[in-house]
């Protein structure tokens, strides 16, 4: 199995640098822009596989212009259903075709009772689910011949939990021997929604497995609930948690997620610049391997 990443040289360029989620709403602007300058772009493969015509062309242009990472939506790694091997075969072809440097997915399920739901449902934090999910991750990794990164998802209620979230996530990462996509905003959102300490949570994760970081904005919809919308700018406490986290991990690529309510490119670049300056401050000056 290829250890992470696929292309060491390209990955070296990406790590410590900040990318952005490639969205149709600003694809044209991004490809022609002198304002928005991410180090790489991230695609959801489901949104691009089989796509021809105008968007097929845009995808090829984007992949020529930027290194690419992929963040999947429909693998449904936590599902009670069988894995969809036809789909995974398509993913493999896509990853190869676009020289994708990181493939990540969510620690959740999106398909159940033979129906896709197109959103990320929380897996019960249970021992049997750990074994089930880890086995599926291993199968996918074996087939793709590379390690994948699994993201800690935001969730609004636990379901039938028999263990703590950090223990659940850590056990899966260890048993599957996969990487962690640490979504810092999700940690913040979950710590607020479930009333725990975000830093204590992060410290309990196997941080040597962090291969990729996501940052995003969210929306506080009530006194005790935040929804992970990716539709707002990143707030200061999340930047602060990010900065604190960087001290504890090796340099990896960092991604800004923005899925709707898009601001001017200048504003998005402002967020990229802020993230980059934090990365520079924490990583480039003291490029020390901690593990």
């Amino acid at each position: 199995m290829v250890l992470y990443p696929f292309n060491t040289k390209l990955f070296t360029i990406m790590k410590t640098n900040v990318g952005i989620g490639f969205r149709r709403d600003f694809a044209e602007e991004l490809l022609q822009s002198s304002v928005l300058k991410p180090a790489f772009i991230e695609l959801a493969p489901e949104n691009w596989i089989d796509m021809g015509g105008y968007w097929g062309k845009m995808l090829r242009k984007a992949a020529e212009q930027f290194p690419v990472t992929c963040h999947g939506l429909s693998l449904s790694i936590g599902s009670p259903e069988e894995l969809d091997w036809d789909f995974i075969k398509k993913i493999k072809i896509f990853l190869n075709e676009y020289n994708v440097q990181v493939y990540s997915e969510h620690l959740s399920y999106t398909k159940c009772n033979n129906a896709h739901l197109y959103d990320l449902l929380p897996i019960p934090f249970r021992e049997d689910a750990v074994h089930h999910v880890a086995e599926r991750i291993r199968q996918v990794q074996d087939f793709l011949e590379c390690k994948i990164a699994i993201e800690n998802v935001s969730y609004y209620t636990p379901v039938a939990a028999e263990m703590e979230e950090h223990a659940f996530v850590s056990a899966i990462l260890e048993e599957a021997d996969c990487n962690l996509l640490l979504d810092v905003n999700n940690v913040y959102v979950n710590s607020f929604n479930h009333n725990y300490n975000a830093k204590a949570y992060i410290e309990k994760l196997p941080l040597e497995r962090v291969a990729y970081i996501h940052m995003a904005g969210h929306e506080k919809v009530s006194d005790d609930l935040i929804i992970d919308t990716h539709g707002e700018p990143i707030i200061d406490p999340v930047y602060e948690l990010f900065e604190w986290t960087l001290d504890k991990i090796n340099p990896v690529p960092v991604l800004l997620e923005r899925d709707f309510n898009f601001p001017e490119m200048k504003e998005l670049q402002g967020e990229l610049t802020t993230l980059q300056s934090i990365c520079n401050k924490k990583w480039n000056k003291a490029y020390v391997v901690k593990y």
Binding site: G53, P80, Y109, Y118, H132, T157, V159, L225
Partner: protein, 252 residues
């Protein structure tokens, strides 16, 4: 499977609630928070379909739209892992459930299909193009046809006028829908049966104009004369200008 039956069952309960909105206690869940998941799933499906079918969405009543979406989510197990392909499943579902009749919109299936075709043509994988040159003559060279097209027969001219108007003009219409290669733009042309026949012939065989004229003359019982030649040449030139005919076969 390494998953216990009860864990799988609980996961199924949450998924079922998201699709139906029908509450039942789920072990260890904060019941008040479950609605967020129902809302998220509903929004993804609704937004995807609203964007795919803007004409339908704007024409029918809001409560009718909401009823179709809610029924679709509840009764139909969505099979595609790519959400942008979901509108086709919705079209099939609406047709099967015959909402057209229950809502008394005789054009509903056609309208949904027509809107879907625009998406399909816009997004479908690129098809191999034969090698061609833009220089040539319709009279002497083999015509190369854009392979990225569909023709559809309609009873209501929803491709020509607003739905309200189209309702008053029931008849037989043929629409040619194709994707312009350079821009990826989807174009529509209202064509006659004779034109549709021409396109079919061109898509299947390498034919010269002289043979084409003969074929048309026989198929439509019309004299093969100057008027026919002029009419067909006009149509072919129009197709070339629009990008449906990119050029002519390169002779080796």
């Amino acid at each position: 499977m390494l998953l216990n039956t009860d864990t799988a069952y609980i996961q199924g309960q949450l998924a079922k609630y998201c699709r139906t909105g029908e509450t039942e206690p789920i072990l260890g869940a904060r019941q008040g928070r479950l609605k967020e998941y129902r809302q998220l799933v509903y929004s993804v499906v609704n937004n995807t379909l609203e964007q795919a079918y803007p004409i339908t969405y704007n024409y029918i009543k809001e409560e009718e739209w909401e009823l179709m979406i809610a029924s679709f989510l509840k009764e139909h197990a969505c099979q595609n892992n790519q959400v942008w392909k979901l509108p086709l499943e919705f079209y099939d579902y609406v047709k099967e459930k015959n909402f057209q009749e229950s809502f008394n919109y005789p054009f509903l299936n056609e309208l949904l299909y027509f809107e879907w075709l625009e998406i399909e043509l816009h997004t479908m994988p690129d098809m191999p193009y034969p090698t061609y040159t833009t220089e040539g003559s319709f009279e002497q060279d083999f015509i190369v046809l854009n392979p990225e097209y569909k023709m559809v027969m309609l009873s209501y001219p929803i491709h020509l006028m607003p739905v309200q108007e189209a309702l008053k003009n029931k008849g037989s219409y043929i629409s040619l829908i194709f994707r312009e290669r350079e821009t990826g733009r989807v174009k529509f042309m209202n064509i006659s049966a004779l034109h549709a026949y021409l396109i079919e012939r061109l898509s299947h065989d390498e034919v010269l104009l002289a043979n084409l004229l003969n074929n048309v003359s026989v198929a439509f019982y019309i004299p093969n004369n100057e008027i026919l030649t002029k009419h067909i040449l006009l149509f072919l030139n129009d197709l070339k200008q629009q990008g449906m005919i990119p050029g002519f076969k390169i002779n080796n």
